[in-house]
Amino acid sequence: MLKTSLIILVLFIIAFGGFVVYDLATAKKRKVVYRFKSSLTAYLMLLPAVILAFVFIMLPILYSLGYAFTDYYLLRPNNINIVYFQNFKDFFEELSTKGTLYNAIKNTITFVVGVVPLQIGLALLLALFVNRAGIGSKIFKVCFFAPVVISLSVTAFLWEQILAPGPNGLLNSILGIFNVPPRDWLRDPKTAMPCIIVLSAWQGCGYQMLIFLSGLSNIRKDLYEAAALDGANWWRKFWLVTWVGLRSTFVYILITVFIGACRILTQPMLMTGYMDHTVTLSYYMYNKGYTERWVGYSSAVALLMTIFIGGITFIQRRIFREKK
């Protein structure tokens, strides 16, 4: 593997060198103002970053792409065979049995559909609130942002305690005051995923709130004044000024939250374990690769997932494309 990686790296450096030579050689023809020494220095300074990006980003992606077409089993790293599209065939066969994979896809869709609007909606509300609040807005900002800086493992553990089953669980004991019987929130298939959605939205919305706030700060105040002079109420000001001003920020947040939501892994792993009602596609992929040791199959799932997320993101970008 080391030998292969080194060969690929050397090939990449040769190709990069070829590109640099070509670029420098054709610069005169393209009538670009340049100084040979300066350009060469720039490329040489770029080289360490390019190599690092290649080794730590491109190489793992390339390997994963390659493994998707092999029968790589973790315990047999020295006996890998190319199986072409067998892993993809296995994927769709397993999907047809409506087993764990089917549940993983269903749960991932449920999570995405639940968490994306909730998290973005909460972030926008908090941003609007903090933006208006005068004294104490900094305190609110810190409070709302605090969950973002806490480790996801810690927040998952805290919420596990809040949602603990039996009458002594924090949420159950509060509900008990209103004679609501205790529930096993994380083992009940009806409540487990909604709980994970709420936790995730709560944990993540502070970060998007900050991005919305920066978007809000770019909206000119005189637009609101003009709207007020025209007799616009709060809703019309929001819809015609704020929302229009936040459109590009919203698209960015939508795409990043969507991609993050599709990759959900930590919360179900820490809070419920590998259960049919909470397993997600990332968790399924992780489990297949590490616990059950099918690296080839797991890579195929990763490739399909990348294609799916990439496809949806592309559609999102097309839908929300700015009109020129």
Binding site: Y72, R76, Y290
Partner: protein, 444 residues
């Protein structure tokens, strides 16, 4: 030109990767040619035998291993054999240690001897990671162990120590509730009906009867502690070759075993809501756990358990047969071992000797792996109960290459018992496990 460069690079990358993925057999760590490399020799002319442990060197267990290695090096100085310990703490659970093992195998640097968790025997043996030592360990020596790491007729490991579990119980609660369990011993265990009766009386007394650890379904805890109930009911999980689950995992006897656990949940004798310290704070009458709870009760919870008069240990209940939990970590010679097999076997024999077995178990509080270790446990003591139970009814978890999938499905069944029918849970688990077994069977 740019397009041409990109195209050439892409083609070259694909060719190199295709070659790279399928040509890893050239790696010096190749597991199919055991004992291929000459042994490392230090400056003093000693043959080095490397042994890899799953614990940190500074831990109590790690120190015990190091002491035994030091003693070996002193004893074998004249024979120019030197043991070298490699300590890799389980940073991310057993799977973290496994990743370390596999990385070493891939790099060709895997130690001559490794420690590994017993349920991995089949998978490691089939994948060629472990060396068959049946020809190196005489039958008379093998008989001295309570259990052996066997797979497909071969011997792939010798246990470091043994483990067993049982029901820790609060003697004060039992006395106050008028429950006498003195007749239930490892040699004469209670049965399912008597177990339920005790639970019923504890519940009537106002206590939560038993913490069965049915909440511990995120790791190996629940499978390790609860699988004996299924064997006790006459059930099985897989065929003896480890490749068939259908007809075993969902058999009527297996259903009966899981149904017993479900009945305990339904009757309110146990639940998923029991806190991790509820037994130690006297809210729960009984607590299913392994031998590692003994030091906790002796030292950490003195306020509620001042002495051993306040707590005891009961064996697993039996139904059709008696069965109890076993299995711990073992030693194995890897297929990456060097050519001086004699030196390696000497170290393996040393580390699995009665003296080493006692030294390690004194440090860990577990049960010795060998029958010839003098234990001096007082009759009726918790340690005695665990040891006797191991002798009388100890039975290992299913030996199958698909063990990780078995463990996952077992956890799913236990987690689902509160709300689902046993048969439907087991049918789903059987389908998942059988599919994995079929897939592994196809692997050459």
């Amino acid at each position: 030109m740019k397009k041409l460069l990109v195209s050439i690079l892409s083609i070259m990358l694909v060719c190199v990767m295709a070659f790279g993925f399928t040509a890893c057999g050239d790696n010096p760590g190749g597991g199919d040619t055991p004992g291929g490399t000459p042994p490392a020799v230090d400056a003093e002319g000693n043959t080095i035998v490397k042994i890899m442990f799953h614990v940190d060197k500074s831990s109590t267990e790690g120190q015990a291993y190091q002491k035994r290695l030091n003693a070996f090096n002193a004893a074998y100085k004249d024979r120019n054999i030197k043991a070298q310990g490699v300590f890799k703490a389980r940073s991310a659970g057993a799977s973290g240690y496994e990743t370390e093992l596999l990385n070493n195998q891939l790099e060709g640097t895997l130690a001559d001897i490794i420690t590994f968790d017993a349920p991995n025997t089949a998978a490691y043996a089939k994948s060629g990671l472990l060396y068959d030592i049946s020809g190196l360990i005489p039958a008379s020596e093998q008989e001295k162990f309570y259990s052996l790491n066997k797979y497909n007729g071969g011997l792939y490991g010798l246990p470091i120590q043994e483990s067993s579990a049982g029901f820790f119980y609060n003697k004060k609660i039992f006395r106050n509730a008028g429950i006498d369990v003195s007749a239930f011993t490892a040699e004469n265990p209670w049965n399912f009906a008597q177990f339920k009766d005790v639970c019923s009386r504890l519940k009537s007394f106002g206590k939560i009867p038993v913490d069965m650890r049915i909440d511990a379904t995120k790791d190996e805890t629940a499978p390790y502690l609860l699988y004996p109930f299924i064997y006790a009911a006459g059930g099985e999980f897989t065929s003896t070759d480890g490749y068939t689950a259908t007809g075993y995992y969902n058999s009527s006897a297996t259903v009966k075993g899981f149904q017993f656990i479900k009945d305990l949940i339904s009757a309110g004798y146990t639940s998923y809501a029991i806190g991790p310290t509820d037994f130690f704070t006297e809210k729960v009458g009984m607590y299913l756990s392994s031998g590692w709870t003994i030091p906790d009760l002796d030292n950490k919870y003195r306020d509620n358990f001042a002495s051993r008069d306040d707590w005891g240990l009961l064996p697993y209940p039996k139904d059709v047969v008696a069965a109890s939990a076993t299995g711990s970590w073992s030693y194995a010679i890897t297929n990456n071992h060097h050519t001086d097999k004699t030196a390696i076997v000497e170290l393996l024999n040393w580390m699995t000797s009665a003296e080493s077995s006692k030294a390690i178990t004194d440090a860990t509080g577990m049960i010795p792996a060998r029958k010839d270790v003098v234990t001096n446990y007082a009759v009726g003591s918790p340690e005695y109960t665990l040891l006797k139970q191991l002798e009388v009814s100890g039975r290992e978890r299913p030996v199958t290459v698909a063990y990780p999938t078995f463990s996952l499905t077992f956890n799913q069944v236990i987690a689902g018992l509160g709300t689902n029918e046993v048969s439907s849970l087991l049918n789903s688990a059987t389908n998942t496990l059988q599919a994995e077994m079929d897939r592994l069977k196809k692997l050459n």
